[in-house]
Amino acid sequence: MAKIGFSNVRKSYGPTEVIHGVDAEIADGELIVIVGPSGCGKSTLLRMVAGLETITAGEIRIGDRVVNDLEPRERDIAMVFQNYALYPHMSVFDNMAYGLKIAGVPKAEIAERVAQAAKMLELEPYLDRKPRQLSGGQRQRVAMGRAIVRKPSVFLFDEPLSNLDAKLRVQMRVEIKTLQRRLGVTSLYVTHDQVEAMTMADRIIVMNGGNAEQVGTPLAVYHKPATVFVGGFIGSPPMNFLQAARLQASGLLRKVAEVGGAAGALNTVGVRPEHLAFCSEGEAVLSGKLMIAEALGAETLAHVELDDGERMIVRIEGGREVPAAGARVHLSCTSEHLHYFGADGKRLPD
């Protein structure tokens, strides 16, 4: 069990800096999800914690130790890789026992710990098999087992579910979360899937272009996105954005005026699809044409083209009646559900 600390962590490949100073403190037993689009540096950050990439500048601490110059094996961590990285020539048992054998754990204890992990992960019937004889989900569990048996103080997950099909992914997501809760081991989990981030994390680190844009609980990140990027990345369908300069003609301007002092710096207004609703012309803050409505059962996503050409997505309950495609529609929203961002993309104080 350990805390993890990042202080101004930077990474460069030659002259190119790919991580521009990440600061974060992770509490003991927390499950932190690092989420971001591909190329944002999230995997690199994780690999720096693992010791597979050098740290160009700054400091990473595990527990009370600065681990910058420690070998991976000295860091007391375990990692689950995207492609599982099982040893193909070893049985499931040997895969899980490998780390313990190296650590010089007595044979009887190895057998006991592997058996325990195998039971927890329902791998008991497969201990004698080679990885290639297992399905994707089973391999994933072996990789988990290999991490668990060593009882490390930190778990690192590098997109562990991205090679699984959608159904299995949902199932494993719950299993990993449950397991992490039960073991109480501090975990860093990297993914590009914002649904995984929202459902699994105690706190999320949203990364973009080598910067940690926001660190916070899933709901805090969802309801108070720190930047335009975070608002657009977290949530599906994404947040709608409107350029403040183009609001002149619409009723939204009056709402925005209520912000008061912040209005001067205002550049972008964001609103979540579920906070827009169809209304009569009199109550409207925005008007436009309904392009298409996607009925998903529990909800319906309506794509609306506003009079000034901008596209918005409106999420309404599945049972509600939706205007016909091509019809003129009017949208309303309340001012407390609007998000205001400055020219630098940062959230303006409420």
């Binding site: 597979l52 961590i77 990692m79 099982l86 193909p88 080679k130």
Partner: protein, 293 residues
């Protein structure tokens, strides 16, 4: 995945195959047949007549202590060449695999020796170790070691082994490097996180995963040492001193073309034919099974 091609013309398929079959017949089956035929005869010294002796040549060979000694020499020579060339190549490949900057330059330089013909390689090493004019021999002498592979059989063996292995290192290096690069990096990283040191990772993860490559190279190198080192031995030692470096292939040559005993030479070729056959069977059986995974 079999794709059957259907030819409308009945003659065309045979025509397409003809060149390959012709080459095989002329350069493989004909000489092999001739060798088997000749192995049953003893020609007179002038090649005017020959006498049928059945298995006489073989019986004589298997009782000839020089021939049996040559067998032993071949085993020693092949083992040494294989171990030296594969060991050195593996070491170089592991090191080159770790190099990040300028790795392609290393690789290019390490592959060059393979372009040198065996006989030329032999001459290069001969010049360096020649007891009279060789640079290395001169330094050895200066350090108090009297190098003379012309008189000392062990030194002669050492020299032909090094000269033969040197060239093969490049070939093995290429395969080992390709094999190393085919091992997923994450597997090795996982082992590093599991606590394995570099040496431990090598012996428990990398080497086992490399075993198909290693086995393939083992067969190729043994075959090389058996048959393709003729040029090296011919230029450096000529099989001497006192037959210390006369491997089976060299003995076929020296008995047949120097000693003019064509019957015995042919019989030796036939024996070698069986050895090759045996090696090939072993190779196919094991490589198809892929050794490890």
């Amino acid at each position: 995945m079999h794709k059957h091609v259907v030819f409308n013309n009945r003659v065309l398929p045979y025509l397409l195959l003809a060149p390959q079959i012709l080459v095989t017949l002329v350069f493989f089956f004909w000489p092999a047949g001739q060798a088997i035929y000749q192995s049953a005869y003893i020609p007179d010294p002038f090649g005017l007549s020959s006498q049928f002796v059945g298995f006489g040549n073989f019986e004589f060979l298997l009782r000839d202590r020089y021939y049996l000694a040559s067998f032993k020499t071949t085993v020693v020579f092949s083992t040494l060449v294989t171990v030296v060339s594969m060991g050195a190549a593996l070491w170089l490949a592991v090191m080159a695999d770790r190099v990040i900057k300028g790795s392609s330059a290393y690789k290019t330089l390490l592959v060059w020796p393979y372009a040198v013909a065996p006989a030329v390689a032999g001459v290069l090493w001969l010049f360096m170790f020649n007891p009279n004019v060789g640079l290395v021999a001169w330094y050895l002498k200066a350090m108090g070691y009297n190098w003379n592979h012309v008189l000392n059989g062990d030194e002669a063996m050492g020299l032909v082994v090094v000269a033969s292995a040197w060239r093969q290192i490049s070939y093995n290096f290429l395969f080992f490097l390709a094999g190393l690069q085919a091992i997923p990096r994450s597997v090795i990283e996982a082992a590093a996180i599991d606590g394995a040191s570099f040496a431990r990772r090598f012996w428990t993860i990398v080497f086992p995963l490399l075993s198909p490559t290693t086995f393939f190279l083992l067969v190729v190198n043994v075959v090389y040492a058996f048959f393709e080192t003729f040029g090296v031995i011919h230029t450096i030692t000529g099989g001497g001193p006192q037959q210390a470096t006369t491997i089976l292939v060299y003995k076929v040559f020296s008995d047949g073309f120097v000693g003019q005993d064509l019957g015995s030479s042919a019989a030796q070729s036939v024996i070698l034919l069986f050895v090759v056959g045996l090696l090939t069977v072993v190779q196919f059986r094991y490589i198809e099974r892929k050794v490890h995974y």
